[in-house]
Symmetry: C2
Subunit: 245 residues, 2 copies
């Protein structure tokens, strides 16, 4: 009568000290943990909790399928990825009949997280609890030590994967900006910011709140590339509170 369940613990932006009290307790007490990673890597989520885990914890690394033959957005790769999520949803649902399994997710699980692909597949098959986390972008704007939004500022969160004119349109319409999924998209993001007249106010934050954190004005970035999880920020200037100053 005390069945197992799945708890997805949001890990926050990277500093283990920014994990929530509840997630910290659940992770320290976990007997079984699962986390996504690329093959051959330890994985960011696993790395964040290194100092917190019990010595005898059972680990389930969920390794994304990779192939050098199929492009990332091809129907065949998409089918491969769907089968991967199907498989892990079934394995976790099986485990959750008798065990409490803690799934580790960077940031907040419901904000651009991979866990949602398991969450949708687990509906009705297992008891699932999701513990909110501080999104990576919040850690990044905190690292810059400036408020991201004041008063009536509009904040828009974009992904660097979008077309340049679509990006530029959103960048013009909003006060504060966050651009996720930069990486190889950085040159396009940069051109879109320049078109929108926002490049001089943009920051690039790499590994926010983590060892090796790097904060630099985007206009001063030399290369054309950055880590996939680097975030570009433009701070709002306050639609009304300016007047309050």
């Amino acid at each position: 009568m005390t069945p197992g369940r799945i708890i997805c613990a949001g890990l926050g932006p990277g500093d283990p000290d920014l994990i929530s009290v509840r997630a910290d307790r659940v992770i320290r007490g976990a007997t079984h943990i699962a986390y996504f990673r690329k093959p051959g890597r330890q994985g960011q989520a696993r790395q964040i909790v290194t100092g917190l885990l019990a010595a005898d914890v059972t680990e389930y690394p969920m390794e994304y399928p990779v192939t050098t033959e199929l492009p990332f957005d091809s129907p065949d790769y998409i089918r491969l990825l769907a089968a991967f999520y199907d498989d892990w949803a079934s394995r976790l649902a099986d485990l959750a009949r008798t065990t409490e399994v803690v799934v580790l997710c960077e940031g907040d699980p419901f904000f651009y997280g991979s866990f949602m692909h398991l969450h949708s597949r687990l509906q009705g098959r297992a008891q699932v609890e999701v513990i909110a986390g501080i999104p990576g972008m919040v850690g990044c704007w905190g690292a810059v030590d400036q408020p991201i939004t004041w008063g009536d500022d509009v904040l828009t969160v974009l992904t660097g994967t979008m077309a340049e004119d679509v990006l530029a349109g959103h960048m013009q319409a909003a006060d504060a900006l966050v651009v996720m999924k930069t990486g190889r998209n950085l040159p396009r993001v940069r051109r879109a910011l320049a078109r929108a007249g926002r490049l001089d106010d943009a920051w690039l934050v790499e590994r926010g709140t983590m060892p090796g954190q790097r904060i630099i004005r985007l206009a001063e970035v030399e290369g054309t590339d950055c880590p996939y999880f680097a975030i570009v920020l433009v701070h709002g200037k306050g639609r009304r509170p300016e007047a309050l100053e």
Copy 2:
């Protein structure tokens, strides 16, 4: 040689269990705390930490100036508010010469927080550390138990104080939506959502993650009013991950 300082601790969405490990530790160890509140109220920030404080903590409630004579956006009221922030920035800077003062802030201090009005005034006058928190909106979308953004979804955060046509324009352009500062603005927010064709997908979340939490489809809300800190959400449907399913 060990001067005091000001630590602004983000409290997250309301559930004390969602405070970060670092903020929890700082709050439990605090000898001096400060927090904003309306006169005559305990204040949300103070209420969240009720079970965490030392018995002999010294408290500085920072009570917003109120007047029944001046409208909220009049130049006179704005001057009154600026003087209030000036005064508290000076008092906290004085205290921070010898003492560690913990300022409590709901959500994340850099995301639509009142602390930023002190933060800007304290530059160069005191050592200030800001501890990130889970924004209120993250607690609210977690309470609905649905991912807010998938794949390449664009998220836009708006304040209900904006004009109806401006709201509707942003609501049409984005995939996922968060509307803050609803309260008496709710009827206008609702009309804007209807114009943008998004009303049927909108949720109203009151007191997310707190006692008395209420989650309701906005289209089914009877009244024309709601708490000021209630949040309206429209979830993204996934620009690409739909294809991944």
